[in-house]
Point group: C2
Chain length 233, copies 2
């Protein structure tokens, strides 16, 4: 399957960008009459036929459309502190996109060593992952936000904070219910501060454990993401 990401698709015909036309015609060597697939990142999955295999402006005609393609009946939002080494964050985004995630909020907390992200590069990783895993929904990457803003934002589902400190915690596995929207907070390498955990609890977050293993930030985030997906399987 040749899948293209076409976020600006609105019509029944489409012209691939110069870069994608080149990929389609020169690299994949597709010709007039060949079939390819398009996703718009908002749930639309299309089958298209090449009407003109121009290497700089390849023209397509949409022949089949599926809306809400593989739509899931729950939403997973994860507020994850960017890792010091951004490769590890990109890796998390790639894997979470493959497994299933709806919204990612880079949360900047007290012990965050990295306080900024470059969204363009992270978006690219996610676009590449939806193409690779044939998904019609592109996860939404929000701008980096301070911890205080994230914990106070309204959210109409269950809210969890994973942290490594002492204190009463339930296993995330036992706290998630199938079909329910979920928001999970994952801290940076130095974890959330005790004050942050406390303020999250005040805002209705339930403290959770991901098990006995000591996990890196990006591993913890992925484990939490997969746990929610597994319960919803």
């Amino acid at each position: 399957m040749h899948l293209f990401y076409t976020p600006d698709l609105t019509d029944d015909s489409y012209r691939l960008s110069e870069e994608e036309s080149k990929h389609c015609v020169r690299v994949l060597r597709l010709v007039e009459g060949d079939i390819l697939n398009l996703v718009d990142g908002k749930g639309l999955f299309c089958e298209a036929v090449i009407t003109s295999a121009h290497p700089k402006a390849c023209e397509l005609k949409i022949v089949d459309k599926k809306a809400d393609y593989c739509r899931r009946d729950f939403h997973l939002t994860m507020a994850v502190a960017p890792t010091k080494n951004i490769d590890r964050y990109e890796w998390f985004l790639e894997k979470a996109t493959e497994i299933g995630i709806d919204v990612v909020i880079p949360v900047i907390s007290r012990y965050s060593e990295r306080k900024e992200i470059k969204p363009e590069r992270l978006e690219k990783v996610m676009v590449s992952a939806i193409k690779q895993s044939v998904k019609a929904y592109l996860p939404q990457l929000e701008p980096a936000q301070p911890f205080k803003v994230v914990v106070k934002a309204p959210f109409s589902g269950k809210k969890f904070i994973a942290h490594c400190d002492e204190g009463e915690k339930v296993l995330l596995r036992d706290a998630v219910t199938k079909g329910e929207d979920v928001l999970i907070l994952i801290g940076p390498e130095g974890d959330f501060s005790a004050e942050e955990v406390e303020s999250a609890i005040m805002e209705g977050f339930v403290p959770v454990s991901l098990g006995d293993s000591r996990l890196r930030t990006e591993t913890a985030a992925l484990v939490a993401c997969h746990t929610v997906n597994l319960i919803n399987q």
Copy 2:
């Protein structure tokens, strides 16, 4: 916590290697009387005190020993085809070590693009991961083996093969029982061949699905590893 990997630890005193002595004395700036921890990779977790902070031959005295440190009551063996891009395999090994795995078998199957691995580099990744996640057991990395050998080897637990082809499959989540030893086969980018799946079934492997998402080899392997760990939580 300063954790060192000391596979040759047998006595109540220990001399760190030249490289680790340097790390201990010059980088961490530890001095005589400071406490550090040692794991031997076979379940032994020790507390040691520095008796001589020599930058090339740092001497330690063991002051406390715990055998079978954080021993788990199940064994997870994963036979995973090496990925074409070895970084992705290293990534899987790092994450699986953090989450929990006992034996890794690089399995070479019909559509494997990579047919060889360099165990030294992969071992290093796992040693680094046990130090980071404070584990006393180092997962065992077996030599690369052909698919035929792996499926015919005796294994006294449940055996699963994950593949993407049609055919009757159960969800891995529903097929694993807590406390049971498990062996899971994960194929290369091109998946296992139909003949390979058939021959595994003949040898008692149960075909499993990891869910609806189309996952890369290393993501599938990690998802399977985490599923087994979650059920055993």
